[in-house]
Point group: C2
Chain length 287, copies 2
């Protein structure tokens, strides 16, 4: 047996194409969608990621401003920059890139992103609105998990899903989105007593820990669906997931690859959110 | 075997006594703690609950204003009232009582409560901050679940807890608080495929559904700890929980009673939150 590969590439392409069409329509109506990415780090993999967002945005007809504050920027400068971009009517989406300079917490600084422009769902207000069932942008990575499962018509209602990892940016919001889709959701983490015992009892396993190869065959129920959110750098400059694909592929029913799974869908959703934010700003402006 | 009774009465009494001492200190310093309860319903059990809060507040030395807008109040009036109370420096805590007039959603209206005064954690911003690990008041009922478990020295780290119910006011925030305490948390609900199969595998069961007697012996692992959040009215004017205590008491290791379990602790925590909000307002005023 070998698990079906749940690629995210074609899905990402579909979302990007739809987004480009919407972006062109908005630009023609005088509202060119604009995304601002605030960077305060010299981290190389972060720079790589920001360039890939900028390229994808341009291709989709979204203006992308990279606002590089440098690794020495203080929390106050970052907050002021986010506030200024939130107040700028020409900007529709604002992202604060991690890692942040020493001591600064994303959750805290992201409060300065207006929630209407918070296209990566980083402001705690967005998270609270999401959990409360009010309109808000979900963190793109968390939404990508559910979007990829939907794309492959994987039923969630009544299914038992294990989310491994409880970060504010992925694990917790993914758990909420899955709960909203009527899944029974178990959140596991580093303090879970017997991880394999818990996860091997579930229909779907979402790995969002950030530890290469943590999830092995013993963690997976035969035939289960496995979503790998991990993007761990390898020595040769590549990426590897939280799932040990070698052993899991023989046991799982289906598995998202890394790279080429959740990652491209995440970027595509960031662009979709930006275009949706621009469309709403346009409605407000004309309303 | 008969389950130990995890009464909330003595714990509530302890919290109220501590709170009364803090309230007296604040009053002596010229900051008499003040709680405003906004009511827009003619519901009788709601009126009973509001009177019990008001009485408990007075006993603890907290001024309690019941702002009765009547059952015909519109969303706009309610929102304006919450904004006015949030702006009033003499008021430290604001609660919006449910049920609300037709069509109004607590999550939406509660956005008008300043999060510093949101002593029952109803504003989505409070919820998001809670989930993100930033300071915020938790919904008192959800916090009461963890507080009562702590009081009886029930270990949560590494234990598997099932939360049955996914409401914004109880189930979801309780799941987060338990996760923060390093429990492995499974959230179950009406669409969970085989509830008993899931819950009977967990160490702790939190029932927060609002359906009398839903949880029976088959849902409980022998020796498990059961926390009953349900407060369902009975025909004779009493209250009964979500747990069928008759059958569960022979199987569980410990069980919170209804009434006299989570309920009194919830009210005591609302008062504690109000005094803490007053203390912080005092620090800000003098800082």
């Amino acid at each position: 047996m070998s698990a079906a590969v749940l690629s995210g590439k074609e899905l990402a392409e579909t979302i990007r194409t739809e987004t480009a069409t919407e972006a062109a329509g908005l630009a023609a109506a005088g509202i060119p969608p604009r995304l601002a990415v605030v960077v305060a780090t010299a981290d190389e993999s972060s720079a790589w990621y920001v360039r890939s967002i900028a390229r994808a945005a341009e291709k989709a007809g979204i203006v992308c401003d990279v606002v590089d504050l440098g690794p020495a920027a203080g929390a106050r400068t970052i907050r002021e920059t986010l506030t200024r971009l939130s107040d700028d009517p020409a900007v529709h989406g604002v992202i604060l890139q991690t890692p942040l300079p020493g001591g600064a917490a994303l959750e805290d600084l992201a409060s300065a992103i207006a929630f209407e422009k918070d296209v990566d769902g980083a402001n705690p207000l967005s998270l609270g609105r999401l959990v409360a069932g009010l309109p808000a942008f979900a963190p793109a990575t968390a939404e990508a998990v559910v979007t990829i499962l939907d794309h492959y018509a994987i039923e969630l209602t009544g299914r038992h899903v294990a989310v491994v990892g409880r970060s504010t940016v992925v694990g917790k919001p993914a758990a909420h989105l899955l709960l909203d889709r009527n899944a029974t959701v178990t959140v596991c983490h580093s303090r879970t007593a017997d991880l394999a015992a818990v996860t091997s009892g579930t229909d779907v396993l979402v790995a969002a820990v950030g530890r290469a190869g943590l999830i092995t065959a013993e963690h997976v129920r035969p035939g289960a669906i496995v979503v790998d959110v991990g993007t761990n750098p390898t020595d040769d400059g590549g990426l590897t997931g939280d799932v040990d694909a070698g052993s899991v592929a023989d046991r799982a029913g289906a598995l998202t690859p890394v790279p080429g799974g959740v990652g491209p869908v995440t970027t595509a959703l960031l662009l979709r959110h930006t275009v949706h934010a621009a469309a709403r700003a346009g409605e407000k402006g004309s309303g």
